[in-house]
Symmetry: C2
Subunit: 417 residues, 2 copies
């Protein structure tokens, strides 16, 4: 395993002896049951009775991940600290935020979801109603359509971390009722082809959703990682559209109107479309294409020494499972398949890893995701040729990370000189 | 869908009109960026700018799940509120606790894991060392070996909730380094058959682990649901033994000693064995056999009306995947297969559900889990016949929940008269 540090064993730790002293020492301590949670770190924690049980666990004092904030005066988003996390699940309090008029405070007892329009029986559903239907769960990502915008430039800023570029991505176990169940309940007309989904926030966020998706795997979600969905993610209920852009997964959902045409809301005409160089636009480009990014080593990390390092990252696709991630450490001359790390699920963030022996020379690291449809993540030039410079969404090009000879890592293929 | 309540639609909600008023109203508001988090619930949240982004999300004011505490003067455990949760993931701050001398406060910079004994190269590993090895993740349950003790009686108390009976069960995505990787690094002797695993808490919790398990799927875990493992679950690192009893999954692990025999610690001689009626004992009964429990409807819930209700619960097995859960609503005369709810993983909690039309008569609900080895969860009489009355662990018998004619639900097959 190369440069993993190895220290000489200094002898027995004396742990069993300390254990023998426990009873006396513990008896001498006064422990207040209310003062739960981590204490000040002890030189020898075996010599002092630890903290009692508590109603709610806390993080270790030195482990305090936070969302990455924009300028609060203008930003309406906060980002998941991707490079600080392991595995695929995002703790709910670190799930990214993106809202257009703040996080509304909705009384769950007054909450109602109205389904009307081209249906046999217009109905409203209380939160209790929604929870009484058969439940389903799925582990999947939610990603803002504009995620990765900082990477969509030939001269992108280099002092950006993965979370600053791609942190509008989070993964949760979502639980709720299948939208198809509710649509059967109201008697959706066979002529209906679209649903207008409307949020109960002050932006009254509204998007048109194809009925085909609504009847496939769409969900009215009220659960997130086992508990009630958090206010910033749509409490008490949101639309979850596995693999589709976040903006269409309307949070705080209060209304679904069945129709035979899209409603052409602001969010799908002036926003959330992809204008092309020829004057046309990709509209209703709702599926998030396969993407990946390395999360280690990346800015602002500096590799302390040469030798074996594990390149780690995340790959995800709105079309299904990630089947392959290739890694290059030489700027694209050679690519080798990374290992995909359990748990690998459809339309879900997937961890990859690749062990790399850094020789101390400058290196250009990239990852390239392939999904089960055979779609391959494009490079920046290919994506720019297809989309042109005027787009603001769906930035799924390959992300390059440059390791300099001093071990510092920067975003982008070129040095700053 | 029967009795799901249906209310008449009263007309358009006026949401788009309210949206048109947004800009003026929002401009008039003064929003302090520091005052993030949920506000007081609004009668019409579309009329007021919501809360700004925040570094750490909060739960909704009305959604404040807590661990179920024992008497803090004597208890060294707290329980996951199973009946309040959806899906399979347990939020880290609601993961059950069980410790024998409190939660130690360990300085991660001074943390070391020693591996010695029958190895070629005794070594210590810092936390940074552990994180430099190839990582792996898996979603799986951890369960205290004594979980369910409140159910192991023909006269069990009836005013018990699922969490009070089975709340020493939680499910997380665990991330860490495969123990097999570390054992290759130190050069484990081919004659070694056991490892003594020792914790760095004041109990110096010690258990003997078969090398076969250590080389199979054991992990030194430092991550839990994406972030650093919480202090109460073993920060900075614990042993994770998928599907095995929690006590053997030594938290705050500081030492592994390879040997050719078990160490016969207190926790595997006087404790965590299963004395049998014939005077012998099941020892090293480490695998948690298949189990299930209904989580809804259960005490203290009272069904408000007859009609369609979804029976929901959790099933899990330390031997692999849950392949089947059968449900009875008539005390065992007829059993029907429940639906297993995605995501179904090996050695992981699995959700099941079954839609039931309650006619208002008293009913006795039970669930019976089967795993991929063909093992079937036994009833209480069968388990008692096999284990006798003197055991304190591995209570996996079928849990009966009794619905009375007034809709109240109690644990156990018999009424209190």
């Amino acid at each position: 395993m190369g440069k993993i540090s190895r220290r000489t064993m200094l002898g027995a730790t004396g742990g069993l002896i300390a254990g023998g002293l426990l009873k006396t020492q513990a008896d001498a301590l006064t422990v207040a049951p209310e003062t739960a949670g981590p204490q000040v770190a002890q030189a020898d924690p075996t010599k002092i009775l630890g903290a009692p049980t508590s109603q709610l666990g806390e993080r270790a004092p030195g482990e305090q991940p936070r969302r990455v904030m924009g300028n609060p005066a203008v930003a309406a988003s906060s980002r998941t600290p991707l490079e600080q996390l392991r595995g695929i699940i995002t703790p709910a309090d670190l799930h990214f935020e993106r809202h257009h008029a703040g996080v509304p405070a909705i009384d769950p007892d007054r909450y109602e979801l109205l389904i009307h329009g081209m249906v046999d029986r217009p109905m409203t559903f209380s939160l209790a109603d929604l929870k009484r239907f058969p439940a389903e769960s799925r582990i999947g990502f939610v990603e803002c359509s504009g995620n990765g915008g900082a990477a969509y430039s030939r001269n992108a800023a280099q002092d950006r971390s993965p979370s600053q570029i791609d942190g509008l991505l989070s993964t949760s176990e979502w639980t709720g009722v299948a939208l198809s169940t509710l649509l059967r309940e109201v008697g959706l007309s066979s002529d209906a082809t679209w649903l207008l989904a409307e949020g109960g926030d002050a932006a009254v966020m509204s998007r048109s959703i194809p009925v085909e998706k609504a009847l496939d795997d769409a969900m009215i979600a009220y659960g997130q990682n086992g508990e009630a969905i958090r206010p910033a993610q749509g409490y008490p209920a949101r639309l979850h559209l596995p693999g589709w852009e976040g903006n269409a997964q309307v949070k705080w959902i209060r209304r679904l109107e069945a129709s035979d045409r899209p409603s052409m809301t602001r969010e799908e005409t002036s926003k959330y479309t992809d204008p092309l160089a020829d004057g046309t636009a990709r509209q209703f480009s709702l599926v998030m294409d396969a993407k990946s990014t390395i999360t280690f080593p990346t800015f602002p990390y500096q590799l302390p020494d040469t030798g074996w390092w594990e390149i780690r990252g995340l790959a995800w696709s709105g079309r299904g499972r990630i089947t392959r991630v290739d890694i290059t450490t030489d700027g694209g001359n050679t690519w080798v398949p990374a290992q995909l790390q359990d748990t690998v699920l459809s339309k879900c963030a997937t961890r990859f890893r690749h062990i790399w022996n850094w020789d101390g020379d400058p290196a250009l690291l990239m990852s390239r995701a392939t999904d089960e449809t055979g779609y391959v993540q494009p490079d920046l030039e290919t994506l720019m040729a297809a989309r042109g410079p005027g787009t603001s969404y769906h930035y799924n090009s390959i992300r390059p990370w440059r390791v300099e000879s001093d071990g510092r890592v920067f975003f982008g293929p070129r040095d700053g000189a």
